[in-house]
Amino acid sequence: MNRIKELESRINPIAEYPKFSAGDTISVTYKIIEGAKERLQTFSGVVIQRRGTGSTETFTVRKMSNSVGVERIFPIASPFIDKIEVNKRGKVRRARIFYLRSLTGKASRIQERKYFGPVSK
């Protein structure tokens, strides 16, 4: 198993992205290939979970689009991800904030985490 993990890290290298976790609001800029053309698109929303380890790790971003919830799952090793920006750090108590799905409007706000400990970042 270790051999597979070690091999994965070499053949599917993960680019450097800022640290983010559940509750953070991020913007993911990813490439879209339309025929021969390639363009960039941004998907921004709240990270509701990060799951898996190594090159198989994925994260789910949720946003409200015209009052309809839209979720997108990105593999962290995906070559289509151009960049990830952290817009806001959220203060949440769990690693997977699926309760957000049942909340709308004011209730779905997440308190911003303003204080970062001495060893944070």
Binding site: R3, I4, E8, A77
Partner: protein, 206 residues
């Protein structure tokens, strides 16, 4: 067919040039040593015997010790014959994956499937079972159903698919794409799954 002996390491996935995430199996293949060359004059057919995997000398029988000594190599665990190699093979030659396989070509993989013990017809032959789990149905959910007609023929036909030992048989998967060849580690990545446990012996055939 030219081929090589290897060991299944496990499964992972790679991203293709188009960005698709492709599931693949990692096989450690070779380097194999030529331990015997079968010729038309002597054996009636042509083939090359390859050996793979280290083995202790004390666990090797005297006749086999002599056999490996003749090829000028240490005792090996697995031996298999392949034929139609592109180049002339001599005793003691080392065969590696890079000589045989290139990325993008299709190969066959022979392995022994995982043994599953005594299994019913649903798992073993893909039967759909009898009826439903509700509506008065009692205990026939995964039963095989009828085995045939009654007084004529008064017997069950040979080859009737029934429950029994499942898996643990040699299976060949054809036309698996070679996604990557890592020469210095003797690793080859083929698309999809292959039979057997991690660590089981497989034959990769061109």
């Amino acid at each position: 067919m030219p081929g090589i002996i290897g060991k299944k390491i496990g499964m992972t996935s790679v991203y293709s040039a188009a960005g698709k995430n492709i599931p693949c199996t990692v096989i450690e293949a070779g380097p194999c040593v030529v331990t015997q060359v079968r010729t038309l004059e002597k054996d009636g057919y042509t083939a090359v015997q390859l050996a793979y995997g280290e083995k202790k000398e004390k666990n090797t029988s005297k006749p086999m010790q002599g056999h490996f000594k003749k090829a000028g190599t240490t005792p090996k665990r697995f031996i298999a014959e392949f034929h139609d190699f592109a180049t002339e093979m001599n005793l003691g030659d080392v065969v590696t994956i890079t000589e045989l396989f290139t990325e993008g070509e299709n190969v066959d993989v022979i392995g022994t499937s995982k043994g599953k013990g005594f299994q019913g017809v649903v798992k073993r032959h893909g039967f759909s079972g009898v009826g439903e789990s509700t509506h008065g149905q009692h205990n026939r959910l995964r039963a095989p159903g009828s085995l045939g007609a009654s007084s004529d023929p008064s017997r069950v036909f040979k080859g009737m698919r029934m429950a029994g030992r499942t898996g643990g048989n040699q299976r060949t998967l054809q036309n698996l794409e070679v996604l990557k060849v890592l020469a210095d580690e003797n690793l080859i990545l083929v698309k999809g799954a292959i039979p057997g446990y991690n660590g089981s012996t497989v034959y990769i055939i061109k």
